[in-house]
């Protein structure tokens, strides 16, 4: 059986100490990098499946759900320099996030994108 330690604080010999609540609360609970087809995931944490929701849009379904909706999330889309592009990230439920990549003309845009989410898991 693996060992288990229950502690409220950890301290490094030179780098200082930290309440373990920051480790639990401050860790990303989901991250994902999806290819431009909006359905092929390169790598991820806590994502059970990805579905293509149309041009520039995808949905990440989570393995472990958040305790609340909305939860905090951020992201980035990959576009050619000067072609514009931005992403909208929406937590559609406690167990799914949708991304929408658009160009500077506000048109749906199939581009690689990443997102990260933080918050309390259920």
């Amino acid at each position: 059986m693996a060992g288990k330690i229950i502690a409220d604080q950890i301290e490094h010999s030179t780098a200082g100490s930290l309440d373990t609540s920051y480790v639990v609360n401050g860790s990303a609970k989901m991250w994902s990098n999806v290819q431009s087809d909006q359905s092929t995931q390169n790598d991820s944490l806590n994502v059970s499946s990805v579905s293509d929701e149309g041009t520039g849009a995808s949905r990440r379904n989570l393995t472990s759900a958040f305790a609340n909706n909305p939860f905090s999330h951020a992201g980035l889309s990959v576009v050619q320099t000067n072609s514009g592009g931005f992403s909208r990230f929406t937590s559609v439920s406690a167990s799914a996030v949708e991304t929408s990549v658009r160009n500077s003309a506000n048109s749906a845009h199939d581009k690689e994108n990443s997102c990260i989410a933080l918050g309390d898991l259920a």
Binding site: I10, E11, N25, W31, D43, L76, N82, S114
Partner: protein
């Protein structure tokens, strides 16, 4: 209150796998996977500089609005995830976006990005460009 004083945390069964219990207690997650492996706040104006950073070794000024961050410890693969925001000007009507420069393939030891003024479709230097990276370190 319990306290652990330690310099290194290593998984017992698997060195790179330490499990933490979720806030609600219903799930467990791998500690290493949830930790940010690098982050940086960069001032692109004037002489480009880190305002603060973690696991970032250096910056290169690639032109107006364009920067490459080099990591101290490289990722294990090119599939890491990135989050970003940027800050420039005042008020709430400045549309700025940060994206990865897609002129070269992804690499494990650096990340090139650009900041775009959406209305003007022009690159610009911003006061603060924030990035955070998650993935597997080598």
């Amino acid at each position: 209150m319990s306290e652990i004083k330690v310099d290194t945390l290593t998984g017992k069964t698997s060195a790179g796998d330490i499990t933490v219990t979720s806030e609600g207690g219903a799930a467990t997650m791998q500690l290493q996977q949830g930790l940010a492996k690098a982050w940086a706040t960069v001032d692109q104006t004037g002489t480009m500089a880190f305002l603060d950073s973690f696991n970032c070794a250096s910056l290169s000024d690639d032109g107006t609005g364009q920067t490459t961050i080099s990591f101290s410890s490289a990722f294990a693969n090119i599939n890491y995830s990135v989050g970003s925001t940027c800050e420039q000007g005042s008020g709430a009507n400045d549309s700025r976006v940060l994206g990865r420069q897609n002129t070269t393939p992804r690499v494990t030891n650096s990340f090139p990005f650009f900041v775009l003024n959406v209305e003007l479709t022009a690159l610009l230097d911003v006061d603060v460009a924030n990035t955070i990276f998650h993935g597997d370190l080598a």
